[in-house]
Structures are given as structure tokens and as C-alpha cells.
Symmetry: C2
Subunit: 211 residues, 2 copies
DNA sequence: CGACTTCTTGAGGAACGTCAACCGCAGTGG
DNA sequence: CCACTGCGGTTGACGTTCCTCAAGAAGTCG
């Protein structure tokens, strides 16, 4: 669409290597994975958001200072916008403004989903849930297999679980024949209905021992 | 500002009683508290977002169906917009569109903060954090006291902790003279620096017993 | 006062975080 | 070719923590 092309014309392409911190706050992802990293007092680390190809990034905050650090989890390419020119353009082109608003709404909807995962799901349920999230990321294959886009350490910081626990949950799902690893990074979901049930709360904490 | 007044003129006022589910997806909060409630398979309940006075609500989702139910936690009044007229108005008035975009960005920023709480903080830390969140809500008093705007059950579902655990955390903070209860609903923060340290990760899990 | 909901307190146990050690792999240098 | 190093990931042991269940206290409304 025309308006989007105009917008892209005013952008400058940037590339980042893994672990490289990023100061720009507005842009569009072209490839790779970025995340907003936050650390609290004693070093605990959280990745509150992941950005993949096609995502609009706009971390500006009107009232308070921006919290957290944008950084690359994989080699990433990015189209950076000059903030003031970006805003000026949006106010002249309502089509593009609508697209941006849709992106922002979609982003908040995904964050609500993620908040549900973090607030009440068990580690196994979170693992299943994040696997579905990654399955939807491009590129999408037909055989329900996909490549884990980021390190397990980063996945665990994203779903609020220790790396050791994530490892055990992955192994547990694998031993139940629900997923299988073609390589350490390549996963296939072999029983999607059961996995979906688990991801939606099908593996709660047991209060009594199983008889 | 003029544009906002025009927008408000095309809205219809609504009131809700507690626990009343709400089907409208776009509007502005005038009073009370609304929340997006989600339940997963075995009945676990999460409040992924809270909306207070002044917040813009826009839960529309472009790609998939909206997840979760908007409901009132207290008696609430709300200005509901007709969705198509709202969008049409935004495309003609860039000032208002900018305001809406700012609101959406601020909202995502708050959700990132909340994700950090949920992902890695201990129940005591989450309690301190949510107390600061409520302290910022209107009305703001000078003596660092405020009224808990919602039931404890709802607070606990918001911060991803059982109601019993929240109760114990509140009591623990009270016994340390960090907060005090003027009434079951009225709280005063009596040691804000310490509380802020705790809210930012100052009360981690102990792996070794204290000697 | 009684019926109801909300909140609190207590006891008990599974689970997940913590620590430590190990494995596999890639890169490096002798 | 091998030893060494560093990183990412895995496995095991252990104990605090917080969830679960149950019952009681406190507040609310008729």
C-alpha cells in the first residue's frame, strides 16, 4: 500500500548482533528477534516482550522514563524511524495511522495472553504455550515443526521460569511423545490437541499424590 | 481540547454494577474499576488488565477473536463509543488520533511493567509493587495513604498469587512496620524507600536458611 | 439476628528455584 | 592431533516456598 511505502522510504536500515543493546525506540522488525530486557535488584532477568519479523516497535512512554533495555537475541535487521518525522507523517496520513493503531492493539492483545501465562500457569503449561507462540512465527512449515528462534535461556526468561525447569518440562513433554526434537533447535509438535489442552491449563499443580 | 470534546459528544454513558460482564470494546473510563478476566481450563482466574478512571479501553483484535471478558470489579461508569464512528473520527482528526496512540503506548508500557512483576517477583515483591500502582491511582492523598480500589481476591488474581498468600504478605509487611491499615481497605505506606526496594526485587527467595 | 461473602489463619506437601557438577560442542592455540 | 577454554544446555540433590485444603473470623446485607 502506498502510504506504507512512503513511510518505509523515510527509514534507515540497521543491523544488530546478538546481545547488542539498542537505543532506537521506533521502527519495524525485518528479521531476527529483539526483546525488551529488564533486570531487577538482585540480577533476576526478564524478557517482557519479544519482537519478530514484521512487528512494529514503539517503546516511547509519555509520562515516565522508558524502563528496560531493547536488545538483540539473534542477529537482527530493523528499520529505524526518526521519531518526530514518524509522528508528523502519521498525522498527515490517516491510513498509516490506522495501521499503526492496529499494530499497537494487536500488541496489547498479545501481552494480555502472555500475562495470563505468567500469572497462573505451571511451567509445563507455559512451555506448551510458548511452543505454540513460536509455531505461529514465520516461517511456518506444514509439518508442525519449527526452529526455536532464541536460546533456551532466553525462552525461560520470557516465560518466567528457570532454565533448568524449562529443560525438564521440554524433556517431560518429549517423553510423553507430545513433542520431538529433530535437533536441539528443531521441534515438532506431534500431538497438538493434547498440547493445546495443556497450554490452556491442562496440567495444574497436584495437591494430592496421584493414586 | 476541542477534538476530545467532539469525541466525547458522540459517546453514550454507561454504568455497570460489580461482576457485570460488558460487551462493549471501546470507550473511556469515568469512574470505578474494570478488568479483563480470563479463566483457564480448571477454573484458574486471571485479571490481565485493570482499567481505572481516565483509561482508554480498546480491546479490539484484528487477527483473532478477542480473548477474555471485560467485567466490572466495582460500580463503574464508562463512555462507550460506536466502533466504526470512533475509527472514522480518528481518521479525520489527527490530534485525537495522537492522543489515542499515546494512550495505547502508555498502556503497553504498563503491561511490560506488570509482566516483569508476574515473571520473576516473589509474592511479597508483587504485593509491594501493586501497592505502589494503587497509590498512583486517583484520588492521590498527600499522606501516602489510599484506599484499595478492589477486593483482595481481585488483587490476588491480578498479581498471580493466591488470596491466602496475598493476605500473608500484607500481614508480613504490616508487622515490619512498612505499611499500616487504617481500615481493611485503607492503607498507608509508612516506609516508602524500603517498600520501593522490596518492590524492585529486594525480597528474593532464600536458597539457604538464614543463619 | 441469620445468611452470605470476603478475608484470615493453620497445617501439610508437591513443586520449583537454587546450587553444583557434568556433557557436548565450537573455537583457539600449541 | 590434542588440550584447553567458554558457552549453552542437562541432570541430580535438596529445601524453601507457596499452593491446596479446611475451618474459623470478620464484615455485609437482608
Amino acid at each position: 500500500m502506498n502510504s506504507t511505502r512512503d513511510l518505509l522510504a523515510m527509514a534507515t536500515a540497521k543491523t544488530w548482533r546478538p546481545d547488542q543493546p539498542i537505543s532506537r525506540l521506533v521502527g519495524v522488525m525485518r528479521s531476527g528477534v529483539l526483546a525488551v530486557e529488564r533486570r531487577i535488584a538482585d540480577g533476576r532477568r526478564v524478557l517482557c516482550v519479544l519482537f519478530k519479523q514484521g512487528d512494529l516497535i514503539d517503546l516511547r512512554r509519555s509520562e515516565r522514563l522508558p524502563q528496560g533495555q531493547l536488545l538483540a537475541l539473534t542477529p537482527a535487521t530493523f528499520l529505524a524511524f526518526d521519531e518526530t518525522r514518524f509522528d508528523a507523517y502519521l498525522s498527515t496520513c490517516s491510513d498509516t495511522a490506522t495501521i499503526v493503531q492496529d499494530q499497537l492493539r494487536e500488541h496489547t492483545a498479545r501481552m494480555r495472553d502472555h500475562a495470563v501465562d505468567l500469572a497462573c500457569k505451571t511451567p509445563t503449561e507455559r512451555t506448551a504455550s510458548v511452543l505454540f507462540e513460536f509455531k505461529r512465527w514465520p516461517p511456518v512449515y506444514e509439518d508442525d515443526s519449527f526452529r526455536l528462534p532464541i536460546r533456551r535461556r532466553d525462552i525461560s526468561d520470557y516465560i518466567g521460569v528457570r532454565a533448568e525447569t524449562l529443560s525438564r518440562c521440554m524433556r517431560s513433554l518429549e517423553s510423553e511423545r507430545l513433542i520431538s526434537f529433530l535437533s536441539p533447535r528443531q521441534v515438532r509438535l506431534t500431538d497438538i490437541p493434547t498440547l493445546r489442552r495443556i497450554a490452556n491449563g491442562g496440567r495444574p499443580r497436584r495437591s494430592k499424590p496421584v493414586q
